[in-house]
């Protein structure tokens, strides 16, 4: 039995016997995925509210009295960290990864279900520790999401008493949770694929999550090490990162530490993190476009290789976040070059998405709209990344709103659009019910146009030199009146987009209880997750026998086929095939 794996063995599935075993201490990958998703989205809503509060301060300075300069910095820090780590990473890998990997590769579950369960509960602990910092004396840390020492742990920075300690502890706990999850995702893909599911027959979603999980396993240790070291600096008084300095008129006991070391560690995690978020999004969007354009993915092999190459290159570009921190000019040249090289495989992906759409039988359903919206925002965010990748252009634009506009477009809005697209796409399979299309369309258009209204003007503000992270701009000569007007407009757009998300939540919750029954495969998709015997898939996913895979994931509009798609588990009929890629 060459294919015998843990996931094959139904005895290892720990069939739950109680309600608690089924929905709380569950070892079923689907339940864990939903637990991850709900937690991540809940904490993401907190971050969304924080961003709107920040925007209110920026658009209408002083209008809300409780937003003090300290509070503003705390909102900003928590917003950034929650969005990047606790929402995007957790939702794309813990949520989508958990749900999709076993179903898409034809396994019954993850290979280590108990560790998988543990991963979620440790993640929840990390979230709770982080949230606890909001109620701790001194409030959460206001060090900025990059937590740069020395200021992050010195007197005067908001949240110095407890906030920074809880933040660092939470991050370390998160890394433990991620490692348990990541080991599962990688091992499951390697070991538990159904018979016939070769690596190159895996859907791009699985490829994206697989490579992102590997990246995470290599990058998160840097965050762990940085968090532990800074914790020791803060709590015990070591000097890993803390130089000899005077704080509040007092000579501190720190001596000889290097803040730059922290920056290296942080960005050694921080840059791959961008791709930990982006690669699953790339994969999901590839599948969404192919399914809803009824066309095979253009250049599938190239798409897979691009994911792998982007993942590998992303480990060698971290210092482009540190151009203004001071480094040997040759390093700047190296990191600028490696950064720009990433544009090549990334551009290949963008072209291939467009060529997949080309002459496709495009169905502009809600998931497809979000996928196409992603292509727009990702191209815009990617192109501004080319600006910032160059040292000479980056230096004047550093710490301006241009950077805020750039990274929100490329790794904020883009993955979030894919997440929405993915949720709309797989909702019928996950719940067995269909959402309301009208609400979905309104949600898409308000969100899509709204994010442009928010982030496009920020590039303009950045060119003017408007600095990021400032509580208030005040009266300065280099900032014209138009910048203040732009800030007001951005704030209004941000509030509208924020409120528009209620449509999404209403749609999802209402449809869960009242939505019409969904077809088991409403989009006519070829991938395995749509071929389960039950909808939603039951515990163990596949009934008594595992599926056998006979073809790749993109057999759409095959000439001569009775339908415009052929599921992966349909045996060949012997007919000759001349499939254009």
């Amino acid at each position: 039995m060459a294919y015998s794996t843990v996931a094959d063995d139904t005895r290892a599935l720990h069939h739950p016997k109680t309600w608690v075993g089924k929905y709380v201490w569950s070892q079923d990958h689907k339940v864990i995925a939903l637990q991850y998703s709900v937690t991540a989205i809940a904490v993401g809503v907190v971050a969304l509210v924080l961003s709107d509060l920040m925007r209110l301060q920026l658009g209408f300075p002083g209008a809300l009295k409780f937003i003090t300069p300290s509070a503003y910095l705390q909102f900003m820090t928590m917003h950034g960290m929650i969005m990047v780590v606790y929402l995007l990473t957790a939702l794309l890998l813990g949520g989508f990864g958990n749900y999709m990997i076993p179903l898409m590769i034809g396994a019954r579950d993850m290979v280590f279900p108990f560790v998988n369960m543990l991963s979620f509960w440790v993640y929840l602990l990390a979230v709770l520790v982080l949230m606890a910092s909001m109620f701790a004396p001194g409030g959460p840390t206001g060090a900025g999401w990059t937590l740069y020492p020395p200021q992050a742990i010195l007197e005067g920075t908001p949240g110095r008493p407890w906030g920074i300690i809880l933040m660092l502890a939470s991050l370390a706990i998160f890394v433990v949770a991620f490692t348990m999850g990541g080991l599962n995702y990688v091992t499951t893909v390697l070991q538990a694929r159904a018979r016939g599911m070769t690596l190159m027959r895996m859907p791009c979603t699985v490829w994206g999550i697989f490579v992102a999980a590997i990246l995470g396993l290599l990058a998160f240790p840097a965050l762990f090490v940085a968090a532990v070291m800074m914790m020791l600096d803060r709590v015990i008084g070591t000097s890993f990162f803390m130089p000899s300095l005077v704080s509040m008129g007092q000579q501190t006991n720190y001596n000889g530490g290097s803040p730059l070391l922290f920056q290296h560690l942080f960005w050694f995690f921080g840059h791959p993190e961008v791709y930990i978020v982006a690669l699953p999004a790339f994969g999901i969007v590839s599948d969404l476009i192919s399914v809803h354009a009824r066309k095979n993915l253009f250049g599938y092999r190239m798409m897979v290789w691009a994911i792998v190459i982007i993942g590998a290159l992303s480990m060698f570009v971290w210092a482009h976040h540190m151009y203004v921190s001071g480094m040997n000019p040759y390093f700047g040249f190296f990191f600028a070059t490696s950064t720009l090289i990433i544009a090549v495989p990334t551009a290949i992906k963008v072209y291939n998405w467009l060529l997949t759409l080309w002459r496709g039988d495009i169905h502009l359903r809600v998931p497809m709209l979000f996928a196409i919206g992603f292509i727009f925002t990702f191209i815009h965010g990617g192109l501004s990344g080319l600006f910032l990748g160059n040292v000479s252009v980056d230096v004047p634009l550093s710490d301006t709103f241009f950077v805020v506009g750039h990274f929100h477009m490329v790794m904020g809005v883009s993955p979030v659009l894919v997440i929405f697209g993915g949720i709309y796409h797989w909702y019928p399979k996950i719940t067995g019910r269909m959402w309301n299309a009208t609400l979905g369309y309104i949600h898409f258009w308000v969100t899509f146009l709204g994010v442009y209204a928010i982030f496009l003007p920020m590039h303009y503000l950045g060119f003017l030199g408007v600095p990021r992270r400032y509580y208030a701009l005040g009266e300065t000569t280099f900032i014209p009146h138009s910048a203040h007007l732009a800030n007001e407009a951005i704030t209004i757009a941000a509030l509208i987009v924020g409120v528009a998300q209620l449509l999404f939540f209403y749609n999802m919750i209402w449809s869960f209880f009242r939505g019409p029954q969904a077809d088991p495969n409403p989009w006519g998709a070829a991938t395995l997750e749509w071929q389960t015997p039950q909808t939603p898939p039951a515990h163990g996913n596949w009934g008594p026998t595992l599926p056998v895979v006979y073809r790749w994931a993109y057999d759409y509009s095959v000439p001569g086929a009775p339908e415009d798609f052929i599921p992966q588990n349909v045996p060949p009929d012997g007919a000759s095939r001349h499939h254009v890629t």
Partner: protein, 214 residues
Amino acid sequence: MGLLRRLTEKPWLTPGLDPLTEPGAGGARSLSAAAVGLRVYFGVASVMFMLIAAVFIMRMGGHGISTGQQPDWKPMFWPPLLWVNTGVLLLSSAAWEWARAAAHGGRLERLRTGLVAGGALALAFLVGQLIVWRQLEDAGCGITATTMSAFFYLITALHGLHLLGGLTVWGRTTAKVLGGGEAVEVRQSVDLCTNYWHFLLLVWIVMFGLLLST
């Protein structure tokens, strides 16, 4: 070669059951999922310790003194007990290897002895490391005394925590064997634990060597 062939497969051309990779697929999966998972974890832990080593070397190289500060290196006291501890960890690894051979040969008595010795020696190593910590503090080389001692405490703590994690699996395995379990039941656990112990021995030797040589 197998991986390259697989990654250059043209999956759209060849519907059917494993047209290209059927023979290789079985070979790739001859490892158990736990073995693969452990290897992946070795990668994670290696990255973590390598990053600490890199930070240590950069910090040693005066990365933080570019602003005109004086180097903060002070002489470090290395308790002789560290050498004994290293020997104990080495013996612990050897005991595991012995247990592995016994598990594969089905010799239950030897397996029991090997398991008990492997675990006990690992525990002795951890106790020894705690004593070293105490000796360092008594000698004025506590965690905040010098940068070298700060790194030493950090590295030994993380290494010790890894060993503690291994000891939980050791506890379960040993309980099974002492409770009348057969050798074949624990063969995989013993295999993986042995690899894990060797890995931690290697990490310790490299990190200890790095600290000593600086």
